[in-house]
């Protein structure tokens, strides 16, 4: 192992590791290989410290392009492993100084890894996202008042209604008051809609959770990444027995069709990232 290389970890799986791993290409174009200890196999790549040393890593993680490419590459290897064996996925940028260090980690945490493998065996992670169906385009935006902006006139700082000739007292409701009433009604309607959507999301989560052996709720996603303005009210991961996976998928479809308030989306199957926390973790 040369001084300028580090070891990037993808996943840990019990021996014997599945065949074919060494044909894979991992992050930064590096080949994939296996490091073994204590009955466990660590799936790794050797990568240059120039990319994953502490300083460059911190910089690179803030570079969305680098992050996207690396995340995808990492996930591809992890997915390849979990598709043919039970494996514990590791998050990106888990880097070690050398193979010996990797072996140390395998040995040190062998009990915890074994326990996690037990939890994950024969199970798969599925993701469900729910968006509130309401759109808020009826709000605010163009709300022309009864009196056009110029009527109250004057420089900023004038108190509207006190300038001579402004603010018609006659006729139906005065425009400022009407505006306030309209806005209040709109905001209340939106609060109600948000509340109902959140309540429905909770119900969906509970119902789907009853079909899973473990659940994990994630925060709503960055709108810049999802590319949509819609309000995400549920973002959850479910660990489901493989034998029940089809039943789970059907339940999602049914729940989607049931309520007008939410749109549900199923993603998966995923490597069980959301359920891979092992009991002993060194920080």
């Amino acid at each position: 192992m040369t001084e300028d290389m580090a070891v990037w970890l993808y996943a840990v799986t019990p021996e014997p590791a599945p065949a074919g791993l060494t044909e894979l290409t991992g992050v930064l174009g590096a080949p994939v290989r296996v490091v073994r200890a204590s009955g466990l196999a660590a799936v790794v790549s050797s990568v240059s410290r120039a990319e994953v040393g502490e300083e460059p890593l911190r910089r690179n993680l803030e570079d969305l392009d680098w992050l996207a490419a690396t995340a995808t590459g990492h996930d591809a290897v992890v997915g390849a492993v979990t598709s043919s064996a039970t494996a514990v996925p590791v998050r990106i940028a888990t880097v070690y100084h050398g193979d010996d260090r990797v072996r140390d980690v395998l040995t040190e945490h062998r009990t915890a890894f074994a326990a996690t493998v037990d939890l994950l065996a024969g199970r798969t992670e599925w993701g469900v996202k729910a968006y509130a169906a309401s759109n808020h385009s009826d709000e605010s935006a163009d709300v022309p008042g009864d009196a056009p902006a110029g009527t109250s006139g004057g420089a900023p700082g004038d108190v509207p209604g006190d300038a001579p000739g402004s603010g018609a007292p006659g006729g139906g409701q005065r425009s400022g008051t009407a505006y306030l009433l309209r806005r209040r009604a709109q905001l209340r309607a939106r609060e109600t809609a948000d509340h109902l959507a959140a309540r429905d999301a909770d119900r969906v989560h509970t119902e789907l959770g009853s079909l899973a052996v473990a659940v994990r709720r994630h925060p709503p996603q960055h709108s810049r990444l999802t590319g949509t303005r819609a309000n995400m009210v549920l973002n959850a991961a479910y660990l489901v027995d493989d034998a029940r996976a089809e039943h789970f998928a059907t339940a999602v479809t049914e729940l989607d069709a049931r309520g007008p308030l939410l749109h549900l989306y199923l993603t998966g199957p995923w490597p069980p990232y959301s359920f891979s926390r092992i009991a002993e973790v060194t920080t």
């Binding site: 300028d4 990319e51 460059p56 022309p144 400022g176 008051t177 306030l180 709108s223 303005r229």
Partner: protein
Amino acid sequence: MTAPEPRPPLPLADRLDSDPENLERDLVALVLTIVELLRQLMERQALRRVEDPALTDERIERIGLTLMRLDERMTELCDHFGLDRDDLNIDLGPLGRLL
């Protein structure tokens, strides 16, 4: 084998967008988002205040007209910069969206 040279980090401006026109638009959108945040905060506070029975109709009307003018002004500003008012927002990650 020598290690490859690490790439210098991109300046923040480039990270926002590589196209200068889009960059300017992004900055304007950011500015207007803050303005819109202030407008919304004021509006909500005003809506709470007008529940106060002690406020005169005159006062309520004045508050309403001010807010209405602000709302119209926001629309004008967005139109002027070619931005969709519904698009104004900032995603603060774990804190959710600003608006």
